[in-house]
Amino acid sequence: MKYLTEFRDGAIAQKLAAEIRQMTTRHWAIMEVCGGQTHSIMRNGIDQLLPSEIELIHGPGCPVCVTPLEMIDKALAIAALPNVIFCSFGDMLRVPGSDRDLFRVKSEGGDVRVVYSPLDAVQLAVQHPTKQVVFFGIGFETTAPANAMAVHLAKKQGLTNFSMLVSHVLVPPAIDAIMRSPTNRVQAFLAAGHVNSVMGFWQYPPLASQHRVPIVITGFEPLDVLEGIRRCVRQLEAGEHEVENAYERVVTFDGNRAAQALLEEVFAESDRAWRGIGVIPRSGWKLSDAYADYDAENRFDVSDIHTHESPECRSGEVLQGAIKPTDCPAFGKQCTPRTPFGATMVSSEGACAAYFNYGRVVQLERVRVRVHA
């Protein structure tokens, strides 16, 4: 597919769906790793275009959703401190910690600010030399280069009042962990195009061959997702397990080497806890020794904060593809985007919120309508 001009063309979507139907001879389970793709699938009704044999499993690729509760509680503790300006991307503000969220901290007088770029937080540190500015550095490999540059520039400018609370997670170890799980049902992966725009896909061939699993890199537009699924099904039906790039207009094999070089300097691999899943070895980044002074966990004493997940939220099973959001008894009843139990309902990229917002709800809530006379 060369030009996007054909992209929202329903006829092409139907043609791709027909091709998928034609070649599908049995049940296949395909995981889209990325929450952005989950969102696109639900919003555009892609799941309803596919034959019933194709099951889409929604993966853990929503950084807001997989950031552990303990890390949220640390963020809340730091944000509530006097003299701290706590900066975050907007979608973290509503994620519930043990007893509140960042919005609550803000309404109780904490200086919590939404920034568009981590460089805005560095700028705030320059403008407020008597305050400690902390940036909540979460995300996958797409967001990491921005966060790495922020820390790098803070060090370069000799800023002593900037630090970062880091909870970065990585896609390849997650794919590896999913494939090693004894309850795994995933037979092919759609990889997250923008992660690969940074990292390329040189890390992926060993994963595909070791686990004998097709991995197709694709984008976020409806036809990108459909084309990715078509290529997965073709490989599955042919018994192949290759890495394919269906997002050539953005992704190259090498990725962005300049970004990878700084990532290597600023970050070091570490074990990471994934919310609802548990610890996956070497699945994330922390600040490297050279940048340890900029680690908010070292700067503020939050080491005694240990939190356990709420037993009523089944987001962990959702994140692993073990259950669908609608299988959870709380879904759409006690747990809605306005009253979320867990992160998969808070973030618009979370599978539960995507199901709720795009009408995969069996029963509508009763909505009170105010009639203007």
Binding site: R8, V64, T142, A146, H194, G359, V362
Partner: protein, 98 residues
């Protein structure tokens, strides 16, 4: 969180610390860090995520993606043009699939 918006480079500056550029996203202009696309020049299109250009993209694809984002009402949100207190979940979809 991992969406990225294509924009056109209209002006490049260097503050001595890092290479920056002004990009145009279908009418909305923003300062973007260009450190990871050292060879980019004015007129190029790039995909931007949280204030950083991460890869090049051709003009036709860029325009189409921008149009798509605007249709979906996602452009302002992705570019951080929404005030803090407006972050709220979208209303539930009125359509049900029985």
């Amino acid at each position: 969180m991992c969406l990225a918006v294509p924009g056109k480079i209209v002006e490049i500056s260097d503050d001595g610390m890092v290479r920056m550029a002004k990009l145009d996203f279908g009418g909305i202009q923003k300062q973007v860090c260009l450190a990871y696309l050292p060879d980019a020049v004015v007129g190029d299109y790039a995909i931007v995520h949280v204030g950083f250009a991460i890869s090049r993209i051709d003009e036709a694809s860029a325009q189409e993606t921008l149009r798509h984002f605007r249709e979906l009402g996602l452009l302002e949100e992705e570019l951080g043009e929404i005030p803090d207190d407006e972050y709220a979940p979208p209303p539930p979809c009125p359509v049900t699939y029985q």
